[in-house]
Amino acid sequence: MIEPFPGRYFAGRGEFELEAPNLFALVRALDAIGSGFAEMAGEDAAIAVDGVMRADWSAPLEGAQEVLIVPRIAGG
């Protein structure tokens, strides 16, 4: 993941080896490490799975190699 999430929730750590069936489970697992992350992620994070932005957090992660959590930026 990239800032601001590592600094705010994970003491600066931005990489984790985790297994999860879907993004909801992954965010829950991260929330167990960095409390409060899940609530913030729901509003402010965008997530890419193997380089492709993923809208549906319930979709299976089976076979995915890399999940990237980045700030959500919309526009004007």
Binding site: E39, A48, L68, A74
Partner: protein, 756 residues
């Protein structure tokens, strides 16, 4: 150079039909925010702070309440208590406490124009007179406007609870720095040390307003049963409803919200200012209440775009290959935190291949209205720094500035600013088209020079809900929840007509209220033609599928033996082979099937692609006065597929014009008391038609493969390059660096004199 005629790949996509809402808008029939009237409606007025920073000791409303005709008075004491909970607020998220305090000051006023109390009365004149009778006892506090002053030792603190986020260890005392964000890529120090050429600069822009013509306005009605209605002009009535309901602690479904026409937003109409206040006034008065801002209210009471201060250094090889970038920057965000630090970083990292970066961004509050989004929020300011610095690099290397950008431009597959790879992007195509454009090599006269700048903007997708329904005669009704700001009624109709293969005029588009269709995110982020358009296409395809299935039953064949073509179902086999049924003939049979033909679709697409642009600007500088004239301007942009090219070109031209205004004249000018000195269009100098040449547009259509017709967002990228394109031209014309905006005549004249 006009865009080439659309390719014949599509029937309707790429054509330029008349806009369906045009007649209403040019004849004055369209109902905008300040036009709407509800039965029994009364009028509201807001009392605004005369101080830039003051503690509210007390508010005495008794004289106002005693004035004949006054029906209600509201202060922040009438607001439910607010938490610091973060909620979705248009395109971003924000603290509920800050959202509420933006509507009515709580405890302190934080800028001149901050709403302190409100009145509703039988006439507007009575409401305004009553507002003046409200006595607010202020303890005036010192104020700050500039970033440096806000961060200085001993500076007055706006928010006593604000501890800078992002610092380790966390500070133990409050400050005006809301947030610090550091992003690194590679080893910037080492790469910079190995660079053959280093350029750097200190850049500054000031807050500017979006300048939408229509002021904020709403009508609110709170019924005795607790349910309410809101009529609003906004970029997203669903989000206005949600924010208002959150502030008032009522269920969203109890607040039916109706969209009115919108006279410009550009990001500034994604949040709330008036709505909860009008609701509370209505609740007390028992009548619908209209609140509308004046132009001065808009400037002093709604959010402009932030200013910025940037220290930027770029290192490159002798051939111009970028090696490293280092930046520290401070967004000047007004009274409430939540600026565009992330998008500023994306601007620095999204446009060119730069392997090594160290970026540090700050979000700094001070005593003017909390800033809001403005078309590619945060990017034009940062691109001004980046693209100006690149121009310095090109000069230092004696290199064509377009060649420098071509050497470093991001290509498909390159990592984006957040490491997600760029998809089918067309930045290189834009740069090549700019270089091939006759403008690039046209001769220049005395005191004239040419500037160029590139641009990247991420764009967005997000949730939208759409329904497509057929009438019994086969005409098509598309209903969305996306307010039409830039011509989306036309683009939605075009896409539905394309799918159903019917004439554009057979499709009508309506924007429904919050009780009549599911949620759609705001019209912003250049998302509607992409995301809502995807939903339209999907719903229209479902309708087509139903039509084919029903036609098959009528023909007595399998659905696979029916082809949809030219707005009709054609039978391919059996006794009816060669026959066809029109869309109207099938729709008329609804009573013999399971019901009318319709489909509703909700989507949340995130497979949007960014937009890229290149602008070329010729300026002429009058050395006697410092006045700058724009004498030629060309915009080149990767637009994906242009659904309605007129509207795409309009976005490109509009963005360029707003950016030119930002570069040359627009600025919040404050006096020593923090009061804006130019809160009107006479003194806040936006460009008008007579100031500018024709803005030439070159559309580069690199389709987005994730959209059925290849759509990319187009509304924001065009405002990113003009600040630097203009500044680079003026720098070349004068031979002097132009690192502070606006480039008003007095500033340029003083710069020229200082250099003599």
């Amino acid at each position: 150079m006009n865009a080439p005629d659309p390719m014949s790949k599509y029937r309707v996509v790429g054509t330029r039909p008349v806009r369906p809402d045009g007649i209403d808008k040019v004849t004055g029939k369209a109902i905008y925010g300040p036009d709407f009237v509800a039965a029994g409606m009364i009028h509201g007025a807001i009392l605004r702070s005369p101080h830039a920073h003051a503690r509210i000791r007390s508010i005495d409303t008794s004289r106002a309440e005693a004035l004949p005709g006054v029906k209600a008075v509201v202060t922040s004491a009438d607001f439910p208590g607010q938490s610091a909970k973060i909620i979705a607020a248009g395109e971003t998220s924000s603290s509920l406490r800050d959202i509420a305090a933006t509507c009515l000051a709580h405890g302190k006023v934080l800028y001149v124009g901050h709403a302190a109390a409100a009145v509703a009365a039988t006439t507007k004149a009575i409401a305004e007179a009553a507002a003046k009778l409200i006595v607010v006892d202020y303890e005036v506090l010192p104020h700050v406007i500039e970033v440096e002053d806000a961060l200085a030792e001993g500076a007055p603190i706006l928010h006593e609870h604000m501890i800078t986020k992002g610092l380790d260890p966390a500070p133990d005392s409050p400050s005006n720095a809301a947030n610090c964000l550091v992003m690194t890529r590679g080893d910037a120090d080492a790469a910079m040390a190995g660079a053959a050429v280093i350029v750097s600069g200190h850049y500054r822009t000031v807050p500017v307003h979006q300048g939408y013509i229509e002021p904020h306005a709403c009508v609110a009605s709170w019924n005795a049963d607790g349910q309410g209605q809101l009529w609003v002009s906004s970029q997203g009535h669903f989000d206005i409803r949600n924010q208002t309901a959150s502030v008032l602690h009522i269920p969203s479904s109890d607040l039916r919200t109706y969209p009115l026409e919108i006279g410009g937003g550009f990001g500034g109409k994604t949040g709330i200012y008036l709505e909860p206040v009008a609701m509370l006034l209505s609740k007390k008065a028992g009548r619908p209440v209209r609140l509308a801002m004046s132009r001065e209210d808009v400037f002093c009471g709604s959010g402009p775009a932030p200013g910025i201060v940037v220290d930027l250094t770029i290192g490159a090889d002798a051939d111009g290959t970028l090696k490293a970038i280092k930046a520290e920057f401070w967004y000047q965000v007004g009274a409430f935190c939540g600026s565009a630090v992330n998008s500023g970083m994306a601007t620095l990292l999204g446009t060119y291949r730069i392997a090594n970066a160290h970026l540090c961004g700050w979000d700094v509050v001070s005593n003017f209205p909390g800033t809001k989004a403005y078309r590619a929020p945060g990017a034009p300011q940062m691109a001004f720094a980046l693209e100006s610095c690149l121009d310095d690099l090109a000069r230092k290397l004696d290199m064509d500035p377009l060649d420098l950008r071509l050497r470093n431009a991001v290509r498909p597959g390159d990592p984006g600013p957040h490491h997600v790879p760029h998809g089918a992007i067309g930045f290189v195509e834009c740069l090549e088209a700019a270089k091939a454009h006759p403008h690039w090599t046209a001769p220049l006269g005395a005191n004239q020079a040419r500037g160029v700048a590139g641009a990247f903007w991420m764009n967005y997708g997000g949730p939208s809900t759409v329904s497509v329904a057929l009438s019994g005669d086969g005409s098509v009704q598309v209903t969305t929840g996306s307010p039409d700001i830039g011509g989306s009624r036309a683009s939605m109709a075009i896409m539905a007509a394309e799918v159903l293969q019917v004439p554009y005029e057979r499709v009508r588009v309506a924007i429904a209220d919050t009780a009549s269709i599911g949620y759609s995110m705001v019209t912003g982020g250049s998302r509607v033609t992409f995301a809502t358009g995807k939903a339209v296409v999907e719903a229209a395809r479902k309708v087509e599928e139903t039509l084919v299935t029903r036609a098959a039953s009528l023909f007595g064949v399998a659905a696979t033996d029916v082809e949809w073509r030219n707005g009709a179902a054609h039978c391919l086999t059996g006794e009816s082979a060669g026959e066809h049924l029109t869309i109207g003939a099938i729709a008329a049979k609804a009573g013999q099937f399971s019901g009318p033909v319709s489909a509703e679709v909700s989507v949340n697409p995130l497979d949007y692609l960014p937009g890229f642009a290149v602008h070329i600007c010729d300026t002429e500088v009058d050395p006697e006065t410092g006045n700058v004239s724009i004498i030629r301007y060309t915009t080149v942009q990767d637009v994906g597929t242009a659904i309605h090219p007129d509207y795409v070109e309009g976005q490109m031209q509009g963005g360029a014009v707003q950016g030119i205004g930002w570069a040359l004249n627009e600025a919040y000018v404050f006096d020593g008391n923090g009061r804006m000195e130019n809160p009107g269009f006479l003194d806040y100098r936006m460009p008008v038609a007579s100031d500018l040449p024709m803005i030439d547009t070159v559309m580069i259509e690199v389709p987005n493969p994730a959209h059925p017709y290849g759509v990319k967002g187009v509304g924001e990228a065009p405002i990113v390059p003009p600040l630097a394109a203009v500044a680079n031209a003026v720098s070349r014309a004068t031979g002097l660096p132009m690192r502070t905006l606006p480039l008003s005549p007095d500033r340029i004249w003083a710069t020229i004199q200082a250099a003599k």
